[in-house]
């Protein structure tokens, strides 16, 4: 498995497009995917996890793709790797897949996708990870423009939502309440309609929704985020530009993440994490 935005969103969790499992390197030094140099070779490293304590995966096929910046453009193949995925807890776990990538001639931002292909996976829905970030400096405001494409064969209404989710620090192991207690204390977060694969039914999804739910990460007070337009009706393959302006509160210093998610109904179509630097 890999940090997979669509799957996590299906389960009622907020997601970041600054994927914790996908990292770019240039000459061995970690770099951000938000601003890449043209015609330059990078190494993409994908961290892959095995949720099974019994079944390894020898010869796991890992494919790398990129998109021009935006939400939903068609993927372009970068390369592939084959890795051995040991069982959880074994030396060599998590495994790392690598691919060399020379960026196109045009400088700027590209969205990366990593796809794991394994026929007898317990949960094939968490095998696609995406890395899609962009950094902007807030010179009142920070303005981001990117295209949104409808990659479906039918006309769709896409709604753009924003949140400020960043994965929180892991909880202290001793403070985990236990699945039954979580369900009892937060019945509103127990989603009976969510399909949970057998391999993840032991997970405390209620606690996960409490700690990672979108409602817990609204745009912080004092910040103004304007998405224009915030809904697009696009025919098949149609692309339209979207502008997002982010204004920090006076006196803000540091970096703030704003996630823009493109939703079709309750389905997550794509998204981008905008990192706003101020001060």
């Amino acid at each position: 498995m890999i940090y997979s935005q669509r799957y996590l969103r299906e389960q009622g969790l907020a997601v970041t497009w600054d994927n914790p499992d996908i990292q770019l390197y240039r000459n061995g030094v970690a770099v951000s995917s938000s601003s890449l140099e043209a015609s330059t070779e990078y190494e993409i490293r994908a961290q892959i996890w095995n949720n099974s304590t019994d079944a390894p995966a020898v010869g796991l096929d890992v494919e790398f793709f990129f998109h021009d910046f935006g939400i939903g453009p068609a993927p372009i193949a970068i390369g592939s790797d084959v890795v051995t995925m040991p069982v959880k807890g074994a030396p060599g776990h998590p495994a790392f897949a690598r691919s060399r990538w020379t960026t196109p001639n045009t400088p700027g931002h590209y969205c990366l996708k990593v796809q794991l292909n394994w026929a007898d996976d317990a949960n094939p829905r968490n095998n696609l990870g995406q890395e899609n970030t962009n950094v902007g400096t807030a010179s009142s405001p920070a303005v981001f423009r990117f295209p949104v494409r409808n990659d479906s064969a039918v006309r769709r209404l896409l709604r753009l939502t924003v949140d400020a989710y960043v994965p929180p620090e892991p909880i202290d192991c001793r403070q985990r309440p236990g699945k039954k207690r979580s369900d009892r204390e937060h019945p509103e977060l127990v989603l009976s309609k969510a399909f949970i694969p057998a391999s993840e039914q032991a997970a405390d999804w209620t606690l996960a929704r409490l700690r990672h739910g979108p409602d817990a990460y609204p745009v912080p007070q004092g910040w103004i985020v304007e998405v224009n337009p915030n809904a697009l009706e696009l025919s098949a393959d149609e692309v339209r530009d979207v502008e997002v302006s982010v204004t920090p509160p006076d006196g803000f210093l540091g970096r703030q993440a704003i996630n823009v998610n493109a939703m079709h109904g309750t389905d997550l179509v794509g998204g981008v994490t905008l990192l706003v630097d101020a001060g």
Binding site: T53, V58, P86, K88, A90, E169, I171, R174, D204
Partner: protein
């Protein structure tokens, strides 16, 4: 999912003892009858009862693994499924007490057309279907197991694999418990004059209770099921074409490699402890044509060694301990439901 496999263990060749239960049981019956009819020898019924208990315990020892001579524990074999044999499909009563799910595999990367000597010449997996010195030293015969694919001239040598059911174990518990009242009933035969009639009635009552209890356990037991040992993520494996011997999924099988003296004499994996269907094995290893030594060599390096190494690590105490660590207690993703161990400042 029942773990019936845990009840069955093979024995080293030095500890192998043939089944003596039938002889002992016959002896117990004869002694019991003589004692009952002639009221002689004194205490003959008690002897018959003790011999009966020994016979039952010997039978259960044998069925729980005493008939299995260990070649090696927890081996890893990779083969193509030749046939799947559902519980009871090849047996009639009373052999149906053995409720194992069994299947036969053709050792990979070999074809169904290869002879036993071809397969035995495989330096990496050929031993699994070859005669071994341990049973030979005891004078036990070796016939092997083969499958007949209708379009092929000769039978195909396969490795037999048994996924245990719990019936033998469960019925044995009843038999063992009931052997004690049976022995008491037999002891009654030693009472002069009325002994034979009294012990006959007592034995009939005990036999009836044993039959009822045994029947309930027989019906309610957990039968052998491939899903008990199958990697839950794997799909159920398919078997080869019964006419051509082609096809059949490639599976990795882990379990004890034994000689089963309860049959005509062959090696098998018994009990099977783990099965994983391998979906990404390249087509060249699927046994469409006889395997060359080069192909066998490549199979070892590309499939056998890496898979068996990785699956074998699940037994490594270091790995088992690490799997219990809090840092590996996540189920969704380490970034979502992972936890950190507290920093202890002394």
């Amino acid at each position: 999912m029942a773990d019936c496999q845990k009840h069955y263990h093979c024995v080293p060749v030095s500890e192998y003892r043939p089944l003596a239960a039938a002889t002992a049981a016959l002896g117990a019956v004869i002694i019991g009858i003589i004692t009952g009819v002639f009221s002689f020898p004194p205490g003959g019924g008690i002897v018959a009862g003790i011999v009966w208990i020994l016979a039952v315990f010997d039978l259960c020892r044998y069925l729980h693994g005493g008939k299995l001579i260990c070649h090696a524990l927890n081996v890893c074999v990779i083969g193509r499924v030749a046939e799947l044999i559902p519980v009871g499909a090849d047996k009639s009563f009373p052999d149906t007490m053995d409720d194992d799910f069994t299947f036969n595999i053709v050792l990979s990367p070999h074809s169904s057309q290869e002879t036993l000597s071809d397969l035995a010449a495989d330096p990496y997996q050929g031993r699994f279907i070859s005669r071994q010195s341990g049973p030979d030293s005891l004078g036990l015969g070796y016939e092997g197991v083969s499958v007949k694919f209708t379009n092929l001239e000769r039978e195909t040598e396969v490795l037999h694999c048994e996924v245990k059911g719990c019936r033998v174990h469960d019925v044995c518990i009843v038999l063992k418990v009931m052997s004690f009242p049976t022995a008491v009933a037999a002891a009654i035969c030693s009472i002069p004059v009325i002994g034979w009639a009294a012990c006959l009635i007592a034995l009939a009552i005990v036999a009836l209770i044993t039959l009822i209890a045994g029947g309930i356990v027989w019906a309610a037991t957990h039968n052998g099921d491939l899903n008990d040992v199958l990697d839950p993520n794997s799909g159920f494996p398919g078997e080869a074409n019964p006419e051509t011997g082609l096809g059949g999924d490639i599976v990795l099988v882990r379990g004890d490699w034994v000689y089963d003296a309860g049959h005509e004499g062959w090696n098998e994996i018994h009990p099977v402890r783990y099965v994983q269907r391998l979906d990404n094995v390249p087509a060249e290893f699927h046994g469409a044509a006889p395997a060359t030594p080069e192909l066998v060599e490549r199979f070892k390096h590309e499939v056998l060694d890496p898979w068996c190494f990785e699956v074998g690590r699940t037994d490594d105490p270091v790995v088992v301990e690490a799997q219990g660590d809090p840092e590996n207690s996540w189920h969704i993703h380490p970034s979502i439901d992972g936890c950190r161990e507290p920093v202890i400042v002394e």
